[in-house]
Subunit: 226 residues, 2 copies
DNA sequence: CGCATCTTTGAACTGGTTCAAGATCCGTGG
DNA sequence: CCACGGATCTTGAACCAGTTCAAAGATGCG
């Protein structure tokens, strides 16, 4: 718990603006955990008695469709909250799977409920988190399920882009397909195309340096009026 | 305010499980209002000092894209809450426009904040509402932006279906396009097709009786294993 | 080293778009 | 009350982005 106060992502995470007094209210253990790429954090319908804050890595939340295929509903990046629904429902609504090795904090629902009741700080924070989840959902729809396949892939690259060095780690083609609502082949072809024209430059297997400007133009979120 | 306690949609609406004591906490006016089809409830960025509960009608929430076109992010049906973001932000995140003549209650943010602080009932209710908003967003994505155009139109018809008599009022083709991520022409063609094969039977201009079973099969959300 | 998995590429096909022309609906004013 | 004009809806035909199916490279792991 002490660690929360020194946590690297504290600025972003759920407990970001708790005071020292707030922290005193916490009695149950907040568990520090790591899961490997491809590991399942939880499945839809699983009993939900804790929620999670992502410290590092990348988590995808998916819905499985009637026909067995999956659709990625949104991604969670470091600082984001996973499984908020635990507070109002006794089971999880999505499948949560790690796209990269990830570290997270597992926070029992009881802790959040107590803080929610007794700390105005966290209470507000909680509403804000929920708001963010809605905004991210909406954004995901307009960014990743709208426009041509080329636009979508470009937007995904930018979304995954590490601002520090304009690099990004792309998930498997099948996951990309499930995120963008396109086939793995189309995803593959477009990435190949971006590689050919230098919008995407491979560092190693799945890590790329990106030409942000060029991708923004392709994505259509841009000042192409130049 | 007394009216809230007798409200027809009370079972569904934000204030559904408030006690009499809770109601005593309300001092500011809750305004009863009606807006016509095509009217704008608010625009993205508008100053947000109230939220809304929909009593009757249908509201669309949209994002405008860089290229000027719009994308419907989700629909709100009677009983739903509109503009929750007013609680955590000082401006609205979407454009809210009526697809049908609608009646709503306008609830000042101050009222909700006060109740949120002082009524555990409403507090829980509020988190639930937020959860619903997320779920609906996610659902909207998997239902209305996934699969073939035919599947999507079928799902939209079922979504808009009035369970009481298996009828539905379809919005303009352009709106349908913006909801499903397809062109107005495609929407028109598919509706014409549904009409030809009797999945959709016109009552008047925009109201249809629907063959629910058949549409469920087309939508793919179904026991077609028969 | 060899097998399983994932990615890339090719070629044919098709669902949906695009552009364009009619048809239909509806409010308005004569 | 009807005729006009703008908007919405429908339909057709050509086109193209993306899918599908299939097969050939990569990659990684035991």
């Amino acid at each position: 718990m002490l660690r929360c106060r020194r946590c690297g992502v504290r600025q972003l995470a759920l407990f970001n603006d708790l005071t020292d007094d707030d922290f005193k209210l916490v009695h149950l253990p907040i568990e520090d955990m790591a899961i490997a790429k491809r590991a399942i954090l939880y499945n839809a319908g699983d009993n939900a008695n804790a929620l999670f804050t992502l410290r590092s890595g990348l988590i995808k939340l998916t819905h499985y469709l009637a026909d067995g295929s999956q659709r990625v509903v949104r991604l969670v990046r470091p600082g984001g909250t996973i499984g908020l629904e635990a507070l109002v429902s006794d089971s999880f609504a999505h499948h949560a799977e790690a796209l990269q090795d990830s570290t997270l904090c597992r926070i029992p629902v009881a802790v959040v409920e107590k803080l929610d009741r007794e700390s105005p700080h966290l209470h507000k924070q909680l509403l804000t988190r929920w708001h963010q989840a809605v905004m991210e959902s909406d954004n995901w729809l307009t960014q990743m399920s709208t426009g041509s396949a080329r636009e979508r892939v470009a937007r995904l690259c930018l979304y995954l882009c590490d601002d520090a060095d304009d690099s990004c780690v792309l998930p498997g083609r099948e996951d990309i397909g499930a995120m963008l609502g396109i086939t793995t082949e189309t995803a593959s072809r477009i990435i190949a195309e971006f590689r050919r024209n230098g919008h995407l430059n491979p560092r190693c297997r799945s890590e790329f340096d990106l030409d942000v400007k060029a991708l923004q133009v392709v994505a259509g979120l841009d000042h192409e009026a130049a």
